[in-house]
Homo-oligomer: 340 residues x 4
C-alpha cells in the first residue's frame, strides 16, 4: 500500500486528510504546513500521521506520493519539487497558475514516469458521471448547448479571482463531458468588491462540434445556484447540485423540424414527454478521487483527471480571460498527449 | 373618451382586444386582420366592435388611436401610415425591425404632434415597478451587476429570432431600471433547430455607470426560468416571475471592505441579514399599459414606454447582434429626445 | 345536440358558462340568476344565450338539461324541480347538504330515467386520472396510506365550512381512486375567524382494504398547498397540483421485509430507484366534465361522477363531521346502486 | 470544569461525542458501550477519552455527569443508576418509555439535588427559538392552529414506533412554544411495513388556550418534509427545516371580521402584506444543548429541556397513543413541578 503525504492544511486540506485517513487503499503517513497551529490540529486528530513544518523534510521521509493543497501560485514549484524527488503527485485544481507551467509539469511527470494527477473532484461525483454516461451512450443525441450557473454569497479567495476559483469546476466538467477543447472562449465580468479581482464573470465557449456553452460564476449573489442545463437533440437535462434528492432530471422534450407534406413551409413540432430523475446513490466524490489517484500511482494507469487534463483546463482558463481563440499551434506536449 | 382600433389579431392581439374591451378609459370600436377567420372571431366576441379587412379602411373610420400587433417587420410601415392619418399609435414591441426606422417614427410623431407609444408591457408589471422604486429610492445602493434568464420550451417565432422575441423584454427592463444606455454590447448563441435564427443566445451589456448585465434567452430549454438577480452594494434582489407568491425577494446581504485596524491587510466582512418579499398586489400590466397609452394620447404626456424608449430598445438589440460598442455619434433624434 | 341551461352565475357559474359556450358537443341556450347584474353580464358576453330571472321560466323553455351552480343549500330543491320537469341535471359539488336528500335525488333521477350528474371536476383532471391508472394497473402495488393537503389563504364561503368547501374535493378523489367507501371517519378543527364555521380541519378516514387517509384543509394558511402523497407497496407518488410542470412524481422507492437468512431477525431493506414525472398534457377538466355529462345525458350512460357518486361523497362528509363509523345499515338506494 | 461520560455509541452517540469533545465548557473523559467495536472507534478518535465496557465501571470513575444515548427502553434504569451514583444526567429524548417512570426520575433528581436534563435538541435550534420569540413578544398575536409534518423515507427504529421516534420532536416544540399541556390528544396511523409498530401516524392535540395542532409523522414517504405552519391572528409563519436558506418565513397576512357599517352582515376583510425571512445564523443546536446541560449541572439552574419538560413530553406521547384526554388528576409530581 502506498504511503501518502499531504501538504497544505488550510481550507481544503482537512477534507483531504479525512479521506486519506478513511481510505483503506493507501496509508496516510505525513502532513505538512507552515502554520504550526494547523499542523498540530491535524496531527492531534490523526495521531499516526507525522507532522512536518518543512516540505523538503516531508519529501525526504518515507513517502510514495504527495497531495498538494496549497495556494494556487505555489502549485507549480511544489509539484515540480515532489516529482523531482520521485513522488507521485496529486495537485488541487487548478494544476498551475499558467498553462505553460502546467504543461511543464506534465512533461516532468512523463520523463520521470511518475503519476501527475489533478484534483478535479466533480469528475468523480455521481451526477457528473451520470450525464457523461447519458452523452456517451447517445441517450441525449447531439448536444446543442450547455448553460452553467455557479453562484452564491461565497468565500472570497485571496490569491485568485472567481474564474480561477469557480469556473475551473465548470470548465473541467465541460471538457470531461464533451471530450474536446473549445475553439473560442471569452469572458466578461466585474470586480465589484475588491480592486482588481473579478467576483462575477460570464464565460462563453464554442467547441469544434458546434456546442456552445455559457458559464456564470459569482461570489456575490444572494441565492446559491449550482445549475447546469444540457440541451441536446433527443433529451434535455437539468443538473441541479443544490437539490438534495433529484440532482439530475432528464426531459424527453424537444423541437423538431417536420418535413413539408408536398411543397410549402417546414414546420416545427414540439415533443413533450416524461421527465425522469435517475437514482444516483451517494458515493463520496473526494474519496473516489483520492482512490483513483492511488490506483493510477500504483498501476501507471493515466485516466480521467490526469496532468494533461488539468493542463487543458488551465489553457481554457487562460483562453477565456484573454478573450481569444485557442492558439492554432499549441504546445508539443498537447499534441503528444492526444485527445482528452 | 378616445376611440381605439386594433390591427393584428394573431397570437397577442386577442389579449389586447380583451383589455381594450375591459377598460373604462377608452372605447374599443374597430379591429382589423387580413385573416377573415380571426376577424370574425373577435367581432363575434365583442359585437360592438366593427371589423375591417383593410387597414386603410380602418384608418379612414372614426378613430383617434390605433394599436398595432402585427408581425415585427410590418410595424414600421403600418405605424407610419397611422401617424400620417393623424392617429395616436401604440406599437407592440419591438417598435421596428431597424433602429433607423424606429427613430423615423419618433420624428414623424413629434412633427405631427401625435403620441407614439411602445408596448413594453413588463414596464407596467408590479415586480418591475417595485425594483425601479427600490433603485430610485437608494434602497439597494449602487448596482453592481444584473443577471437575467428568460428560457423555456417556447413558441418559435417565424419572423424573428430569440433575441428580438425574448431579450427585447430584458433590455426594456434594464433601460427602465438603470435610466441609461449601454456603452458596449455583445451576444453569442446558436441556431439549434432552425437554419439561421438563433433559438438560444447570451447577451452581455456594459453601462456608463459601471453596471454590467448578462442575459440568457432561449426557446429551447426544459424548465421555464424567468429569473433576474440584481446585485447592489446595500441589498440584493431576486425577481422570479414564475413564483406565484413571492416574485421579489430583497436580501439584506453583502460583502464589504473593512479598513485595516492599524496597518495590515484590508479585510472582507460578510453581511447576512433578513430577506423580505414585499407584497405586490395583482394589477394587470397589460391593462395598465393600455390605459397609460390612452392617458398619453389624451393629455400629450410622453412618459414611460414612449416612442423614444422603444427606439432605444431597438438600438440595443442592434448593438448586441453586431457585437459592437454603441456608436459614439448617434442619430440626431437621440440627442434631441434626451435621456430615457 | 342537447340544449343546456345554466342556473347560478356567481363565483363558479361564469366558468361553466365559458365551457358550455366553448363546447361543440352541446348548445348553451339559457341562463338564470336572481341578480340582474350578473345575468346581464353573462347575456352580454354570450349574446345567443337567453337570460331568465326565474328558474321556473327557464325550466319551461326549450331545454334538455340544466346545470346547477347555486349555493349548496339550494341544490336539492332546484335539482328536484329540474328532474320533475324532465331535465337531465348536473349539480355542482356537493350534490346536496344532506346525504338523505342526495339519495332522494338519485332515486328521483332513476325513476324518471333522467341523468343525474355531480360536478366533481377533479375526477376529470389529468393528474387524478393518471394516479387512478397507476393504481388500477397495479403499478403502485397495494396502497398503504394517502395524505392530502389543500390549504391557502382562501375565499371564505358564506353558507358552508371548509370541510364542505375543500375536503369535498379530496373525498371525491379518494373514492374515485380506491373504489370503496370508508368504514370510519373523523374530523378535528377550529373556527378561527368566524363563529361557528370551521376554517381549518383535519380529517381521518379508514377504508375496508386497510388504506388510511389524512386530509388537511384550510382557508387560513399563508402558503398554497395542493399536495397529495400516495404511499404504496411498490411505488410512491406525490401529486402536487401547484407545480406547473410536474404535477405527478412517481418514486420507485420503498422499504421491504427481508427474510432472515437461517434464523435470526427479520431485516428491513430500503429500495431507492428512479423518479419519473409522466407528461400529462393539458386537457381542461371542466370542459371534459361538461362533455361527459352531455354524453351521459344523450346515451343514458351512468359513469364516473354520477348522482350515486355525489351522494356517497355527501355521506362521507356527514361521517367525518359526526366522527362516527359509517352506519352498517345504509340506505337501500346505496345497496341498489352498487359499487362506486 | 465538569467531567462528562457518554454511554451509548450507536446511531446518535458519535454526534454527542463530537460536541462533547468540541466544547470548551466541559471535559469529555469517559465513554461506554457494550459493543467493543463501537467503543474502540470512539476511543481511537478521541485518544484522551477512556473507554468502559461496563456502565457501572464508568459510574465508579472520576465523573460529574453522564449523557445517556442508549435505546429508549433502557433510559429509565440507566438514568436512575446514574442519579443514585450522584451524577448529573442528560438523557436522550424521550426521557423514558413510560410517563410514570419519567416522573420517578424527576423526583429522584430533585431529592438528590442533581440535574436531570432531556436531549430535546430542537429547542436549541435557531428557527425554533425565533418562533418562540415571535410568539412571546406578541408579534404573531393569538395562535389559532399549528400544523406539523415530519416525513421522509427514514431509518426504521427497532425498539420504537414512529410516534416515539419522530412525533416526540414536534410535541417538544409545541410544549416549548405554547407553554401549556394539551387537554386532549389522539392519534391515527398504520403499521405498513412491520407488524405492530406504526410507521405513519397522524396526531391531533387541543390546548387549553384553544390552539389546535395536527402532526403528521412518517418513516415511509418519498419526499422529505420538515414543515411547520403556525397560523395566528396577526401573522402566519412557515418553518421549513429543509430549506437551507430561509427556514422561517413570517407572513403579514390574515382574515379579519369587519364590523357592519350600519346594520347588515359582518364582512370579512383579507389582509395581504409582506413576507419576511429573518436571518437566523448557524449556531449548532447540539452544542448549545450540551453546553446548557453543563451550565445547569454547574449552577443548579433548571430551565428549558429539564427533566420535568421531558416527562411532560412522555405524558403527551402516552395521551395521543391512548386517544384520551389528559387525566384530570395528574401525578403529584406534575403539580409540584409547576408550569412548563
Amino acid at each position: 500500500m502506498i504511503k501518502v503525504g499531504l501538504v497544505g492544511l488550510g481550507y481544503w486540506g482537512p477534507n483531504l486528510a479525512r479521506v486519506l485517513n478513511q481510505s483503506a487503499k493507501c496509508e496516510f503517513t505525513a502532513c505538512c504546513d507552515l502554520d504550526a497551529g494547523r499542523l498540530a490540529k491535524i496531527v492531534k486528530q490523526y495521531p499516526t500521521v507525522k507532522g512536518f513544518a518543512s516540505f523538503d523534510d516531508m519529501l525526504s521521509s518515507d513517502l510514495d506520493a504527495v497531495v498538494i493543497a496549497t495556494p494556487i501560485t505555489t502549485h507549480y514549484a511544489m509539484a515540480r519539487k515532489a516529482l523531482e524527488a520521485g513522488k507521485h503527485v496529486m495537485v488541487e485544481k487548478p494544476l498551475a497558475h499558467k498553462a505553460e507551467l502546467a504543461w511543464d509539469l506534465v512533461n516532468k511527470a512523463a520523463s520521470r514516469q511518475r503519476t501527475l494527477f489533478t484534483g478535479h473532484t466533480f469528475i468523480y461525483s455521481p451526477p457528473v458521471r451520470k450525464v457523461k454516461e447519458l452523452i456517451d451512450k447517445g441517450h441525449l443525441g447531439d448536444v446543442h448547448y450547455i448553460s452553467l450557473s455557479r453562484v452564491n454569497l461565497g468565500l472570497y479567495q485571496k490569491d485568485t479571482d472567481v474564474v480561477w476559483d469557480l469556473a475551473v469546476h465548470d470548465i473541467s466538467i465541460l471538457l470531461y463531458w464533451l471530450g474536446e477543447m473549445p475553439i473560442r472562449g471569452a469572458s466578461f465580468g466585474r470586480a465589484c468588491v475588491q480592486q482588481a479581482k473579478r467576483d462575477v464573470a460570464f464565460l462563453w465557449l464554442e467547441f469544434p462540434s458546434g456546442v456552445v456553452a455559457s458559464n456564470e460564476v459569482s461570489w456575490l449573489s444572494p441565492q446559491k445556484m449550482r445549475r447546469t442545463c444540457i440541451v441536446a437533440a433527443n433529451r434535455m437535462v437539468v443538473y441541479d447540485d443544490t437539490d438534495p434528492n433529484e440532482k439530475i432530471k432528464v426531459y424527453d422534450r424537444g423541437v423538431n423540424w417536420k418535413a413539408p407534406e408536398s411543397f410549402g413551409e417546414f414546420q416545427l413540432s414540439y415533443r413533450m414527454g416524461d421527465m425522469t430523475a435517475p437514482y444516483l446513490g451517494n458515493a463520496e466524490p473526494l474519496l473516489k478521487e483520492v482512490e483513483h489517484f492511488v490506483h493510477c500511482a500504483e498501476t501507471g494507469e493515466n485516466t480521467l483527471t490526469t496532468g494533461e487534463f488539468g493542463a487543458k483546463v488551465v489553457e481554457v482558463l487562460e483562453m477565456v480571460q484573454a478573450n481569444r481563440p485557442l492558439e492554432v499551434q499549441r504546445k508539443a506536449a498537447v499534441a503528444e498527449a492526444g485527445g482528452i
